[in-house]
């Protein structure tokens, strides 16, 4: 039982870290720029496609890494420059409509360019094996890599935001946007950089997801909803909130899927228990969100004072 618990904890951690990479960008963009970007999932998809195509063409994992990051960051900055820049002053409904349009645009674009068939990427050879976390329980080393990269990114973001000049501007922008502008900071450049950073993180999540999940059209929307849940739970605009929110959501989802059906099996006939368990665990994350909002309506770590 404890072995299973350890394994499920790792699974939850890995899922949480993946959500964090997406949520960090989303929360920064919303917290600092005040823009709801539904097309954040498209950047995740673009990162995954960029990496998958280059990995399959060249066989080089490093080139694929570069390509995925570059594709997501460039598309992200172009998106900010062409579309979002016109939306800062508009209300959220306009932003939602425009970025929803972007989702359709990117999905159809990918279909036109690469077709509807999912792409497949092999694991990088030195991470294709499994590590025995406890004797007799192998755990895929690639998933451990995802956890490590995610935690490193979290640490890097902490340093960047708490201990650098850019980070100071980002924090200032999140709390007093007008004041930062009044002090003569080029807020437009800051916005583009923040958006690029968010896109970069989404691309990183996408390219790491490639070898485990399918790289296909619409992959971003599957995970986007949970990402919004994370941002809301964590507190909008807070990267720390995104980290804790993501880990909380990742662990809750995995633990419920892993243990609720087994728990119910002790009380109900098996087929009912399994069906009920499946439904309960898919609701769990949303119940968690409702609970958090009931106690802390602004999320766990609200950024705005």
């Amino acid at each position: 039982m404890s072995v299973l618990l350890a394994e499920q904890l790792l699974n939850g951690l890995q899922f949480g870290v993946m959500l964090f990479l997406l949520a960090a960008g989303l929360t920064l963009v919303f917290g600092i720029m005040g823009v709801i970007n539904l097309a954040h999932g498209s950047l995740y998809m673009i990162g995954a496609f960029g990496a998958a195509l280059v990995a399959n063409a060249t066989g080089s994992w490093w080139l694929a890494l570069l390509a995925g990051l570059a594709a997501a960051a460039l598309v992200g900055m172009a998106m900010e420059f062409v579309v979002l820049r016109r939306l800062y002053a508009r209300d959220h409904l306009d932003q939602v409509l425009a970025t929803f349009g972007l989702i359709l645009f990117f999905n159809q674009g990918i279909i036109l360019l690469f077709g509807r068939q999912p792409l497949f990427v092999d694991l990088p050879s030195w991470f294709s094996g499994a590590v025995e976390i406890v004797p007799g329980v192998p755990y895929p080393s690639y998933r451990l890599l995802i956890i490590a990269v995610g935690l490193l990114v979290a640490a890097g973001l902490y340093v960047l935001i708490q201990h650098t000049r850019i980070g100071m501007l980002v924090r200032a922008g999140a709390t007093h946007r007008e004041m930062v502008r009044a002090l003569g900071v080029d807020i437009r450049l800051l916005y583009t950089l923040v958006f690029g950073l968010g896109a970069l993180l989404a691309g990183l999540a996408g390219l790491m997801a490639g070898p485990v999940y399918n790289v296909q059209v619409g992959m971003g929307e599957q995970i986007l909803i949970l990402t919004f849940v994370v941002v809301v739970i964590g507190g909008i605009g807070s990267v720390r909130g995104a980290l804790f929110g993501a880990l909380l959501v990742g662990l809750t989802d995995t633990m419920l899927r892993g243990f609720v059906p087994g728990f119910l099996r002790g009380m109900l006939p098996p087929d009912q228990a399994d069906a009920l368990g499946a439904s309960l665990s898919s609701m769990g994350v949303y119940l968690l969100m409702a609970l958090v909002l009931l106690i802390r309506p602004r999320g766990l770590f609200p950024a705005h004072g």
């Binding site: 890995q14 497949f120 892993g258 059906p261 087994g262």
Partner: protein
Amino acid sequence: MNRRAFLTLGTAAAAGLSMPAIAQGAPLRIGMITTLSGPGGYLGQDIRDAFQLAIEMDQGRLGGQAVQVVVEDDGLRPGQGKAIAERYLRNERIRLFTGVVFSNVLGAVAPDVLDADGIYVSPNAGPSNFAGRECHRNYYVVSWQNDSLHESAGQLANTLGYRRMSILAPNYQAGRDALTGFKRLYRGEVVQEIYTRLDQTDYAAELAQIRSARPDAVFQFHPGGLGIAFLRQYAQAGLLQTIPQCVAAPSLDSTTLAAVGDAAEGVNCTSHWNTDFDNAPSRRFVEAFRARYNRVPTYYAQQGYDTALAIGAALRQTRGSIDPAAFRTAMLRADFESTRGRFRFGPNQHPVQDWFHIRAERVGGNLALVTKGRVLENHGDAYAGQCRI
């Protein structure tokens, strides 16, 4: 949106010019409504290509009757399938239909066709509702009844001596049917019955549960892209070496095999047909399909081909007529050389056939599906008894 592909057969025209006209008048038109787009698009593509291959191999004819296939994509949307069927019936005056891949689309298409006194011959979907009480005189299935796919996997699990099994499927109609079908013939103990979500991409939590339950084997039904992701993660978790999989044909066809790669090695599967079948019609089909389309035919292609042969055999006896009564008498004789060997129609006009054990193995360096033996003989389906026609 309604991309229309009138696929007039060049060979039909060429043959018509060069040979003395045997067939009378205009070619018989066959309406093919199938799924050509989306992740399941390759299924319809294989059915269409193989159906047309059979016509090309017969010089633009089926059973001596010149035919023309009119193809349209339903996009896996029942409403779109229904709209195409209505238009074909009313505007194009087509009375013979085939092609539908997915059961939910068939549920919308078949009633319209049958109500208009048309004939439907299924190359793939065989949902339980049309196999039992609602069976119909003008509705034929050449592929299989849906449940029998998974029943054969249950029987294979018995044969392979798996006593304790974990079974998984997405929590929707076809997924629940698959688990029911599996359990119908499986005699061992089901230690876990896990329902996944249709929008799920990560199966780590389920894989950990399987590992901790230590079953003898796993049966899973995850169609299309889901199955590929599941199988890859299963292999990445190192489970394939310790807990073998025993699945039905939809979870492992030659396209998913190519996509999954080495991860699929050693997976046990059941099917009614495989590329390595050693009978003359099958060899002829595989060779012709490879030469024409430059890829390995999936079992969907085989079903499309057999459907064309079955229709051809009926048309030969009716001399090209599709009067429902005459067509039915001819069709039920199933007087064609099926690529799967033995084939006949049961009382509900669904197949009675053999099921085989297939295994993903390395053949000369490449992974291929290899037939290992027979699992079920003359197997019909569980619903035939309820059908009164």
